[in-house]
Structure formats: C-alpha cells, structure tokens
C-alpha cells in the first residue's frame, strides 16, 4: 500500500490548476477528494508523476439556486450534497443518493466532481445526475463548455473530458415535485452497488438511470419510453436492461444483474409513484 514516488502541487484556482496540467501534460492528474485516485495509487494501478491538488479550490465548493437548475461546484463534498437544504427542496433524489455513497468518512472527502470525472459506472452520482438530465460544465485552456450528462460518459473510467480540462460545475434541473426513488442493492451497507437505480417520475414522464449495468452509467431510455406510451410499471421495468450490457463478477452474473435491474426498476417506479 505504498504508492510509487510522485510530485505534488497545490492549485488555488481552476485557472491555475488547468495551467499546471498544461505544464506537466499526461503525467499529471488532478487530486480532488482522493477517494478514487489514492486507492488506485496505493495499489500501484495508477502511477501519476505529478498530482495537482484541487481539493482546496474553495470557490468551487457551492450549491446555488440558479433559477431553472441548481448549480453545484465540482469540489462540493458528498456530505454537503447530502445535507443541502436547496437540494432537499429542488433535487432530493441527488442528495438522497449522495447519502448512500460509502461511509461518512468517504462522504466527507469525496467530491461530486471527482465522482463524475472518474466516470466509474459503479458510482452512484454519475447515474443519478444522468437520470436527472444534468449538464456538466468543464473548463479548459480555451475557456468553458457545457456537456449534457447523456453525452459525457464514453467507456469504463472514460469521459469526454480532455486531459487538460477540469470539471467545474454540475447543473441539475429542478425536479419540480416529481416522485423519485433511489434503489441501491449491495451486500454490505457501505459497499458500491451491485446494481443501482436512480429514477424520477411525473405522470408519464420519467428518467431512469442504472448503476453498474455496463461500462458507463446507463440511461434506461426504453423504460422511460414505454412509460411515456402508457405501459404499466411492471411492463416498463421488464425493459430495464435494454440499453445495458452488464458484466459478470463475484457478486453477480450478467443474467442475475439483468434480473435485479428489472426488479429494482419496478420497485423504484412504484416507489416514485407513491
């Protein structure tokens, strides 16, 4: 559990962080909460030569009501997402999901930006923000651009972020009283999901995303489509895995994962309809 040697620089702003990354190139990595990166480094599965610590960029830690959406700074810790009054009111699905990330130590260190940038399909917040139709704001040497969550995730731990780009803000549309549910199925309370479902529902409109059901977080468009056409919850839930391509691992075979997804999507939709 001793990482390979590395250098370390602390950035005090997004601009400084981006310029440092430009300087050190592909050997450099941003360090946010460190709760995905440091375990990989300790196992020597990641060996960046330079860490650029953005953990203390204070002005990127916020949760603001921006009218149609809630704006969340990338460096906002899971615990702040979990306990935010603004989110409780306008995007309760997200704060509820944040409360299911790891244990409280993890939630005090890990950041929403780090979680999304890391693009782990087993993480809870990428799928949750995907279900909510979030937009991610990223900043590079040439300025900012916006990416829809549905276009962001490219593959296992791969996203649309360029090496010299930094995720700075997550914009979550207000849920406007939609019913919602977050189903996390795991063997121990503090584990990653074997399968997870983030869902909201307003009449025939719905957003459903799946955790750990493929190489990226999965938007279950068939389920939402079927509901829009008036399908029953049970029939819609049977389509849970249409867009998914789940792997087989110690906890679940592909077949069992697909089965779980349909059970959990059904329960989520029932729960969201209450």
């Amino acid at each position: 559990m001793i990482p390979a040697a590395f250098d370390y620089k602390r950035a005090s702003s997004a601009a400084e962080a981006i310029s440092l990354v430009g300087q050190y190139g592909s050997d450099a990595k941003f360090l946010a909460g460190g709760h995905s990166l440091l375990p990989l480094m300790k196992l020597r599965l990641a060996q960046p030569a330079m860490l650029i610590d953005i953990g203390r960029v204070k002005d990127l830690s916020y949760i603001k009501d921006a009218g149609k959406h809630i704006a969340i700074g990338a460096l906002t810790r899971h615990m702040d997402v979990e306990t935010s009054k603004v989110l409780h009111e306008h995007a309760p699905l997200l704060s509820h999901a944040a409360a299911h990330v790891g244990d409280s130590q993890v939630r005090h260190r890990g950041t929403i930006g780090g979680s999304i940038a890391h693009a782990d399909p087993a993480s809870d917040l990428p799928a949750t923000t995907l279900a909510l139709g979030a937009t991610y704001v990223v900043q590079g040497p040439k300025g900012q651009r916006e990416i829809a969550a549905a276009k962001f995730f490219k593959g296992f731990l791969e996203s649309d972020l360029a090496a010299d780009e930094m995720l700075v803000e997550i914009r979550v549309p207000k849920m406007q009283g939609a019913g919602w549910s977050f189903q996390k199925f795991n063997r121990r309370a503090q584990d990653w999901a074997i399968v997870g479902v983030a869902a909201w529902r307003r009449k025939n409109e719905a957003g459903v995303a799946l955790v750990n059901m493929g190489s990226t977080p999965i938007l279950a468009t068939s389920v939402a489509g079927a509901l829009a056409k008036g399908a029953s919850v049970g029939d819609a839930a049977a389509l849970a895995s249409n867009e998914a391509d789940p792997q087989s691992d110690l906890n679940a075979s592909t077949e069992y994962r697909k089965h779980l997804a349909s059970v959990l999507v059904r329960r989520a939709l029932e729960d969201a309809s209450k």
Partner: protein, 796 residues
Amino acid sequence: MTITENKTTNVIGTRLLRREDPPLLTGEAKFTNDLNIPGALHLAVLRSPFAHAKIKSINVSAALKIAGVVAVYTGKDLQTTWASPMPCAWPVTTDMKNPAHYPLAIDKVNYVGDGVAAVLATNETASRDALDAIDVEYEALQAVVDLEDALSDKNIIHKDLGTNKSYTWPLLVEETPGCVEEAFKKAKYKVKERYVQQRLIPMAMEPRAIAAVPQPFGGDITLYSATQIPHILKVMTALTLGIPEHQVRVVAPSVGGGFGSKLNVYAEELLCMALARKHNAPVRWVEERSENAQATIQGRGQIQHIELAADEKGKITAVRVRIIGDMGAYLQLVTPGVPILGAFLYAGVYDIPKAYDFSCTSVFTNLTPTDAYRGAGRPEATYAIESAIEALAREMKIDSFELRKRNYIKKEQFPYTAFSGLVYDSGDHLSAAEKAAKLTDIAGVRAQQKKQNVPGATKLLGVGMTSYFEMCGLAPSRVLASLNYSAGGWEAATVRVLPTNKVQVITGTSPHGQGHETSWAMIAAEKLGVAPEDVDVLHSDTAISALGLDTYGSRSLPVGGVAIAMACDKVIEKAKTIAAHQLECAAEDLQFVGGTFSVKGSPDRALPLAAIAFGAFTAHNLPEGCEPNLEAQVSYDPPNFSWPFGTHMCVVEVDTETGAVEILKYIAVDDCGNQINPLIVEGQVHGGVVQGIAQALFEEAVYDSDGNLKTSTLAEYLVPAACDVPPITTAHTTTPSPTNQLGVKGIGEAGTIGAAPTVINAIIDALSSLGVKSMAMPASPQTVWKTIQAARGGKK
C-alpha cells in the same frame, strides 16, 4: 470450591470495564508497527503471482541499483541459513506426508503469495520499488485448486511425496464390529448430506507485523511480533534457525486480533530474525492487506459427507462422516490437526450409541495454507450435525426442535461418557434450548410465518436453530499426546504479592483482544481480597513470563485463569503459615476472609495480608524454614477439556425476488459455566456470532481455476460491519464446570460455532415451501436467488 467458601469481595461476576480499552481507544497502546526502532531495515517479500510454477531464473540486479536497497535474497541464497524447514507441530498420523517448506521457495512456487525473494532496504518505499524491479522467469504449471481433483492425484503438487494426500485419519467406534453398517441397514430414517465449508480469511484488523532486534554483542535477539504465541514462537524459531533458545526473547506488544491467524510460525518471522543476524541490524516488516489475504493462513476449507441413521422415533443410531480437508500448499504449525479437533463432535449434543464412523483425508492444493481459524474443526463439525439433523427432521416431517429433544444428552446423564471415551463433564442442553426458544418467541414467529409465507409471497420468514457442544480449553497434555500433538496443554501462572500488598500476576496466556488483563486481575483480586486495580497482569514477553503455552482454542481462562487461581491458593497457603507463626496459633485455626487472616472464633486476633506481605519481604520474623517473599508459581495441566454449550436461534426474512437475506432477530444462549466478567463474555459472543454470520452470508476466499485469489482486498472479501449485522440478544444458563475450581469454560469460539448453521437453517426453513433443501455458504443474494430458481425448476 474455594471461591464460594471465601466469597467476600464479589469481584468475580461483575461487569468491570476493560482496563485494556482506554489505551487502545486513545492510541496509547503500542502495536508492533508503532515501535520506534532506530536504524531498522525494512523487509519486503516478493510473492509468486502463480499458484504453481517452476522458477527458471531470478534477476535482482536492477533491484539492487535502487537507492536505499541494501540486499536482495532468493530462496537459494538463504538455504544454508535454516537449521530445519518451517515447523508443523501436529503430525496427526505416523505416515503423514509433509513437504519441506522454507521461508522462501527454492525452485518451485506452490501458491499465489509463496515467497520468492526478500528485499532489505533503508526505507519502505525503496523496498516496494525493489519488488517491482526483480525479474523472475516462471514456467507455469497446472494448478490444483479443487479438493476432489487433488484427491484424484491426476496432478501431483509435491512430486517427491508421490501423492496429494497428506493423511487419512480414521475414528471408528463400534460397540460390536460392523454395527455402524448394521444400524444403517436397520434404520427407519436415513439422511446423507454433503456440505462445503468454504475457505475463510481470518482478516485480523491488525495485519501481521514483525521487528527482529539483534543485540550488538553476544548474539541475543529479540523478536517483536503481532503473534498469539510468543512462547511457542521462541522454541520454534530457536529450533528452525539453530539459535540457542535462551538467546531468543519474543515479545508480543498490543496485538490487534488473531482468530488463529497469528497462531503460527511464519516465514517472515524467520526471515526478519535471520536477516537481522546477518546484517547485525534490526529488521522489520509489516504486512499489506492483500498479503494478509494471500500469505497469512486461511481457515475452514472442507468438504463434508455426513450420514445419520435413526429409528422410528428419530433417535440417532449411527453417524458416518467422511471429510476431505484442504491443507493448502504446505502444512503450517497445526494445519493437519484442525479437522481432527472436530472429529469427536459430529454427534454434537446427542446421545448416540457406540456406532460412529469418522474418517478425514486431507489433501494438498495450490492454495494458501490453511490452519486454525476461530473454532478450528468444531464449527465445521457443528455445522454438519446441526444441518443434518434438520435434514432428518424434514425427512421425518417433524419439527426439528422436537427431534433434537428426542436426542439431547439429558441433564441427568452428566458427567456423560461419550462414544469416543471423552467425558462431557457437565451440560444441560434442553434448558439452554428452551430459553432460546422463549427469547425467540418461537410460537409467535411460527404463527407469523404461517400468515406471511403464503403462495406468491416474496418476503418469506424462516427460523433456524443450532444446539452445540464445544470441546475446548486445550487441553489435557495426555490427550494431546494420544492425538500426536507435539506439545502439551498446560498453562503457567505466577502470583507475587509485593511488599506494599500490590500484586503481580504473570501469565503464560497471550491476549490479543480478549481482555485477560482485566479478567486475570479479577480472579486474583477475588482470591486475595485486594482491589482489582491493585493487581497488575504481566504477559506476552518471554523474558518476563518465561513459561506458557499462549492463547488459542478457548483455553486461556479454563487453563491459564485456573492456574492463576491455584497460584493464589499457594500464596494464601504460605501466608497462612506466616500468619500462624506471628499470631502464635495453628494454621488450621486460621480463616482467610476479605484479605485478612483471623483466628476462628476470635476475630480480634487477625493479620491482614498486607502485613504478611511486608513481613515476608523483611523476613525478620518468619517461621523456621520458611523462605522470604510471597510468591507462588503453578503449572496446571487440566484433567479434562472444558465443555461449553448452548443454543442459538435466529429469524430471517428472505426476499425471493432478489435473494437478499435479512436477519430480523438473533438469540444466543451460551453456557460457559461461571462467568468472571459478563461484559467480556458478551463481547466474545457478539464477535463470534458476527464471524459465524459472516461465514453464513458474506465471506469466502474465492479462487479462480488457476489458483488466483479473487478476494484479496476488503472491497471483495466481505467482512461485515456493524450496520450489516442484526442486534444480538445474548443470554446464558450457568452450569459450572466440575473440572476446575473456578467452574469456568471457554467462550472465545462459541459464537462462531453456533451462528453459521443457525443462519443457514433459518434460510432453508424460509424457503422450504419452495422446495429448497440446502443452501451453500456464503448465502449471497445471488446464491439464494439461483437456489430458488433451481428449486422452482426454472419456473418463475
């Protein structure tokens, strides 16, 4: 019993808070890796990535160039260092096969994690960098992973042995020759079951840690190790390294759990000592978590076949058991003995005739060596009989509790000479079981179950139970001799009353979480009539506590604790002669109550122990021939095992859609005789039950067909946390052991023994209406779901 006669201070039986906890909780306690040892070199071990391979070549030149690297050794380099291979102290049969096992592999590796090279560096980072720089060329061989495969001898691991079989150990007890076979022929009911005890990783919270510190002159060496067995380690390292034993001192600082995994003589201990001597510098090592998963012993690993024969009432008339034991790649300290520790318990708590046919064949595999893990052999045995009795109840279509009642050894039958010749000194199974049933509200749960488990229901309720008998308090030395164990089972204690009436207790037990300092102080305080805080307990340093056999097998209290009580008696006896001398009376006329000697009938003629202690120190006025000082030493060899027992019950709810199991209620009724400190007893039961639940629901060392461990981190190896286990209701009955003066029995392993079959039986009960008759461990959601699918024959 002396204790009841002299009962005045009432320390025993109180819930005294553990004196160990403040230093542990505040970080004051020092673990091996906390020791500040200037100038220490850091050891790192390069481990085989192959389960079975020839080592073609090892190139260390790049590693040696790394700044801070002092030396790199291969197995060949060190071969002349060892006076003998690593020890196995339990050759269970005279023809047992035991492959030579050295701290580093020589030209062949036999499991993933087998040591291949040792690096010494001035800092930890350099030592790890060096591991990456060593170039080893392997020729991979087919790995033997499956037990039945191993048994077939198609692919032999240790070629020189000619077989993968280490031994076959039979225990056939028949009233008349052939009576077992006859009982099965005549039986009205029969069951034949197969169970798999998955491999478990003990996962002590503190991984292993070692520091070997040589003395600059004279060749003495001190070994600090996170071990359960400093005394055994002293003897064994001296022998293996060829160092005179008196030059070896072993110290176990605070030790963060063991569960049997630190009951061993490990390669790294020998490497640290050998290299410390070679370099004349301290050498230290601390294990990484994944090394702990791969290179520290694992537990369980058995395939069990059990058959029961029963008459028309369900009375068991014969038991037949066949076991395949998984030794792993090599035999560690007591590896072969683990299944044998369970061999006598496959009839559990039941009154059976002399018709018992047990046999265990143990095999080598290309996996991490196994060895004792909390319960060692006895959880396996209990699981088999307590699952088989459920199968028998299903076969007979009667309630399993009713079937147990028909078979329990009855209270009046104790002391009970079992089929094996072992004497179960005391017990009352029915009372414990009835208490558990009452606490579970079994009638209420059954009624709820009737309502809830209707066709189409997706949340099914189930109740499970286990009645167990444990054979622990290891152990009468003569019995150990008959089992071919190389050492004895006694324990030593010294009790010393200091001139100011403070007391030192020196014990040969070696606590690593059990609270011995608290409990031993309570025993001495009760005996001597002093306050517990006036008693200091010294342990786990062979220079201070020279004699002892350490801590494992729920032995510390029934052997080591009893030795302390006996040493106290000796001290009191000596003090009495001094008191008699000074009070000018006959020793027989004195009584000792509340720390004071007084003449029976004239309480004003009295002397407190404090005065005698000071008098023994000044030695001004002692009786003729009486030696100064108030001190006594005892080595106590127990005449019998200790026989704790009890009944556990639990209620589960199974989600048939996902396979998830929730334990709604867990009841543990344990009888460990008299309790010294109920708080500590409950803690032991809680921890044990959680470890048993872990085997039932969560934990398994999973290997792929090439022998790679797939669960080598705590993300994959699912040790449950507090939020994953139910509240546990503990209760007890008290049946004092008639074998020792404290009336105590061990409690360290009981919870682990009771819990796994209790939980699995409850799951099967919940799913019985779906036709489920067995459940593999761990009963993960996926396993439960697949079992339900299979029982439904693919129908939804």
